[in-house]
């Protein structure tokens, strides 16, 4: 079997297993006889989904969460690539800052999220900051690895041609480390979804995390399911977007 048919086969299998899961879920609900507020059936969740879609609340909250995620991702990635580049280029900076950076990783973001919400309010700012904090480290590490891995002899080539700092950055360092950078972004994108939800669970008036909590308080379990599925969809699309970027930019 060639790799292409193998890939489409496995893709088909994963889709089939997904389709199989739904009747299985329905069957469990039917057999167990659990009440709707504990385990709603697929049909309940679907109806709730349509209602939330029609009254516009689902899209509004999703759009809000997505905005937080994208802003947080943007801020986190910008910061961590700039800092990562500086650390990759300077051993001195690295020895000074590396201990702080590693120590900062010992503090779970979940633990400081309430503080950030107290300090920055329960609006969008605190979520963006939580998101960017959670994205920061993995992207930073990948940036350092990526820039350090640029081959010395390609630097030699650029220097023998009298390339400027900017030319070296844009024509060598950036394209050479792009695969590793995008790898970091891929991890960051998934983490940023978690960051936004943590922020919203701690305190918010909008967003999927808020919807999740609302559903929880009101025993509207179908709503919780809808919110969770929306989150999964968000995470998958972000992941897919990065994979698409990789496909476009990485030829080797």
């Amino acid at each position: 079997m060639n790799p292409k048919t193998l890939r489409s086969l496995s893709r088909g299998l994963s889709l089939a297993s997904l389709l199989l899961a739904i009747p299985l879920w329905a069957l469990i609900v039917r057999l167990s006889g659990l009440p709707k507020f504990i385990l709603p059936s697929p049909a309940d969740v679907w109806t709730r989904f349509l209602v939330a879609l029609q009254d516009g609340s689902l899209l509004r909250h999703t759009a809000f969460t997505l905005t937080e995620i994208l802003l947080g991702l943007f801020v986190g990635v910008c910061f961590s690539t700039v800092v990562g580049y500086a650390l990759a280029k300077s051993r001195a900076l690295e020895t000074v800052f590396a201990p702080y950076l590693i120590a900062s990783q010992a503090i779970p973001v979940v633990a400081i999220a309430p503080l950030l919400v107290i300090w920055l309010g329960n609006g969008i700012l605190s979520k963006v900051i939580i998101c960017s904090l959670i994205v920061f480290f993995p992207v930073l590490v990948n940036t350092i690895i990526g820039v350090r891995a640029v081959s010395q002899s390609l630097y030699d080539l650029m220097n023998s041609l009298r390339a400027s700092r900017w030319q070296i950055l844009f024509k060598l360092e950036l394209p050479a480390s792009l695969p590793v950078l995008l790898g970091g972004l891929r991890i960051g994108a998934t983490l940023s979804v978690i960051g936004a939800i943590i922020g919203e669970l701690v305190g918010a008036q909008r967003g999927l995390g808020f919807l999740l909590q609302l559903g929880n308080f009101q025993y509207d379990t179908s709503m919780v399911f809808v919110a969770v599925f929306m989150l999964i969809a968000l995470a998958l699309s972000l992941y897919g977007a990065v994979a698409l970027l990789e496909k476009i930019f990485i030829k080797t």
Binding site: S153, D156, S160, L161, A163, L178
Partner: protein, 246 residues
């Protein structure tokens, strides 16, 4: 005629944990404009280091390298490994020096295609380096070193990875380029044949730290073809070089 470049008491020490590693020690010599000079020497004698100094990539630990018009000339460099950018195709790799100079895009493309044809890779413009054989990649490196018409050509064992036939074709090609464009060429090689076929002058370096052991004038007539290798004078020069290397 003033020398194209003069090297005076040049030393290079690479920093390491115990006092530094001395790669080159007190080199002094001159190279005339348009001269073709070959460097022979055992592995680790500092040949690559020396080329990096000439290219201005590295600064000397002591002594100096001076150029005729007292500024760094335009350099074309061929590396020991092909040293291509894996994310660029052949054409994009060859065009790089012109791109960095800010040359007109269309002219650059025409020039690059010419060079690709010269090294016998017509039809491979769109190939990525991973799809090339070692010898083909090396020829892309040679095209890239020539494309921006440099004053000084630095070649670090450029033909080591080529098969014998291609290698000898490249010798003739390089000879022709050098005679037509009259660049100054400094080439590192392990091959006595190669150095005698191409060079005006061969310098032999000692074991590390590299010092000059022999400065041999190659007074074989040009253009040199296959037959030159079977002359007794060629044999005499080769013997002299062999003696110096051991």
């Amino acid at each position: 005629m003033p020398p194209f470049l003069s090297v005076r008491n040049l030393s290079l020490v690479y920093p390491d944990n115990n006092g530094g590693l001395r790669a080159l020690d007190d080199l002094s010599f001159e190279i005339r404009p348009r001269e073709f000079v070959c460097f022979l020497g055992p592995s680790g004698s500092g040949k690559t280091t020396f080329l990096r100094l000439l290219a201005g990539i590295l600064s000397p630990s002591a002594g100096e390298v001076n150029f005729a018009d007292s500024r760094q000339p335009k350099v074309g460099m061929v590396f020991q490994q092909a040293n291509l950018m894996p994310w660029r195709n052949v054409l994009q790799n060859v065009i790089l020096p012109l791109e960095l100079e800010g040359a007109d895009k269309n002219e650059a493309r025409v020039k690059a295609r010419e060079m690709i044809e010269l090294v016998g890779l017509k039809g491979f413009e769109d190939s990525l380096p991973r799809d090339l054989s070692g010898g083909m990649a090396q020829r892309v490196g040679i095209a890239r070193a020539l494309v921006h018409d440099p004053d000084l050509l630095l070649l670090d064992e450029p033909f080591a990875s080529l098969d014998a036939l291609t290698r000898e074709r490249m010798w003739t090609e390089l000879s022709n380029i050098w005679q037509a464009q009259q660049k100054t060429v400094v080439m590192v090689t392990h091959s006595i044949n190669e150095s005698l076929f191409l060079a005006d002058r061969v310098l032999v370096l000692t074991q590390r730290p590299g010092r000059i052991k022999l400065d041999l004038n190659v007074d074989l007539p040009r253009p040199r073809n296959d037959d030159v290798r079977y002359t007794s004078h060629f044999g005499k020069l080769a013997k002299e070089l062999r003696g110096a290397i051991e």
